[in-house]
């Protein structure tokens, strides 16, 4: 993948996350602190399946090798 592909992909992801977080922080939580807090929570929740998937991948990889 070229640098420009990465740039556009990451730009779209950031735009998408901003829209999602903006709507999540509506109804009286429109502060930067609340925005950051929600972002942190979302990242943590997104990290959970990513870590789980990583562990499973490593486990299957070494099991097949063995």
């Amino acid at each position: 993948m070229k640098k420009i592909d990465w740039f556009f992909s990451i730009l779209l992801i950031i735009m998408g996350l901003t829209c999602l977080l903006f709507s999540a922080n509506a109804f009286g939580h429109e502060s930067f602190l609340a925005f950051g807090r929600t972002l942190f929570k979302v990242c943590m929740w997104a990290a959970c399946p990513a870590i789980l998937f990583g562990i499973l991948y490593v486990w299957f990889h070494y099991r097949n090798k063995g």
């Binding site: 992801i13 829209c19 999602l20």
Partner: protein, 469 residues
């Protein structure tokens, strides 16, 4: 930014799926919230109406002011329906639009039943109307209409819808970004394969793909690498074949040219010398004819044009015929040919003529490379297979050369090839003919002791039944 078709198709498919999911889930969430708010609002209005009716039923002088105060707190409007059917607003309130009151509802209220319905005015504002009868003892005297505006709920729902659309847009952009990365990563290997096949099509068969995974795409990569290797091997073999062919044809032709020129120019001293040269010319022309015949057979075989006349045949007869043909050659070299047949031998399905050719090639080779001793043809049969072996007591083949002896034009004794004769295609033909008849060829050899070629023909079920004694 490069756009490849497979990545585009993959991305578009996932994106279309994503849009369908987003739209359907957005509609479901919208209906969920709308119904939830409506239900909640109706419950609240019903509850307020029940309280007001209780207050009105007490017929207390302060009840009207209490109802008015509560109505103000609860943001609802209250109308009094007298037993004569007149509509009264609560004291101190201006005259209201009473178009929502219908005669059939009034009738229902006077007969002691509650009514509840939604109404919309000309500006599009929604209202929820609850009518409840006020019971004085066992009779129904009057009734109350409670009108609750749904404007706040509608505003909240509108805002919620906007936020849902924003979330949908956010999810769409997020998915688009991720799909862009995934489609690029997933289609990368396919594109590499496409580039690799393009390179192969241009004639570069040395190029290989780096295959890391073991999935279907990885297997496809391995197949492409195998294909490239096969093509490369095919090209190398073809080059070697043409190089060998030109060499093998050039040598006898040079002999023929040279000796014919000597004879034509009269450069011979005696009749004996002339006879010797003519003999060389004759031998070389015979060799050339053999070479051309072998090449013709081999090329027909490789193109799949050769057709075998498959029939049930007796190998003993074939062996005897072949041995008879080479007996003279063997006697000239003072070699003995022995036949050892272990009966019973079942009939074998094959081509009599080709099988004889195979045996002749093996026997001629055995005689050619044996100076002293004997050649033994042995035929045995087991339950599983018929085994034919041709052994000699010749010079033998070095072990490292054994894997290559069935290749075209391969010669073990390269420097003495002319001395021994042969076209270099004999064993190649033997292997091909035997394999075409469902057999296999093995070879065992020891330098200075001798060589044995073993042909194994596995029995078919029918073949076992057709045994002869």
């Amino acid at each position: 930014m490069t756009i490849n078709r497979i990545g585009l198709k993959l991305g578009a498919a996932v994106l279309a799926l994503m849009i369908v999911i987003l739209v359907s889930s957005g509609l479901a969430v919208d209906r969920l919230f709308t119904n939830f708010y409506d239900a909640q609002m109706k419950d609240n209005t019903q509850e307020i109406a029940a309280h007001f009716v209780t207050m009105a039923a007490s017929n207390d002088s302060s009840s009207q002011s209490m109802i008015r105060a509560f109505a103000k707190f609860s943001s609802v409007k209250v109308f009094w329906l007298t037993h004569e059917g007149k509509i009264l607003t609560l004291s101190g309130e201006k005259k209201q639009n009473l178009s929502f009151i219908r005669a059939r509802d009034t009738h229902r209220l006077h007969s002691g039943h509650s009514v509840a319905f939604q109404k919309q005015d000309s500006q599009g504002n929604r209202f929820y109307v609850v009518g409840k009868p006020v019971r004085m003892g066992r009779t129904t005297g009057s009734a109350l209409y409670i009108v609750s505006s749904m404007k706040k709920i509608d505003n909240s729902l509108q805002r919620l819808r906007n936020l849902l659309m924003l979330s949908g847009l956010g999810a769409f952009l997020l998915a688009l970004g991720m799909i862009l990365i995934m489609s690029k990563l997933l289609s990368r290997r396919l594109l590499q394969m496409q580039q690799m096949t393009n390179t192969m099509a241009k004639g570069n068969w040395e190029a290989r793909l780096q295959v890391g995974s073991q999935d279907e795409i990885g297997m496809l990569g391995h197949s492409i690498n195998d294909l490239a290797a096969s093509l490369q091997r095919y090209r190398d073999t073809r080059r070697a074949f043409f190089s060998n062919i030109s060499h093998e044809l050039r040598t006898p032709v040079t002999y023929l040219q040279g000796y014919a020129k000597v004879l034509k120019d009269g450069l011979v001293d005696s009749d004996k010398e002339k006879e010797q040269y003519l003999s060389i010319i004759y031998q070389e022309s015979v060799r050339l004819e053999h070479l051309i015949n072998d090449l013709f057979d081999l090329s027909k075989m490789e193109e799949g044009q050769i057709k075998l006349n498959m029939e049930w045949m007796d190998l003993k007869v074939t062996i005897k015929t072949a041995v008879q043909k080479v007996k003279l050659k063997a006697e000239n070299k003072r070699l003995s040919i022995q036949i050892d047949i272990h009966d019973p031998i079942p009939l074998l399905r094959g081509d009599q003529k080709r099988m004889e050719q195979v045996l002749l090639n093996l026997l001629e080779n055995a005689i050619r490379y044996t100076e002293k001793g004997s050649v033994l043809v042995r035929l045995t049969a087991t339950k599983e297979a018929t085994i034919l072996s041709v052994s000699d007591t010749g010079i033998g083949i070095p072990e490292k050369e054994l894997p290559y002896i069935f290749e075209r034009f391969y010669r073990v004794e390269k420097s003495r090839a002319r001395e021994y004769g042969g076209t270099g295609l004999g064993l190649s033909l033997v292997k091909k003919y035997v394999e075409m008849q469902g057999g296999t060829v093995r070879v065992a050899s020891q330098m200075g002791v001798g060589t044995t070629f073993i042909l194994i023909f596995t029995h078919e079920k029918k073949q076992r039944r057709g045994g002869i004694s």
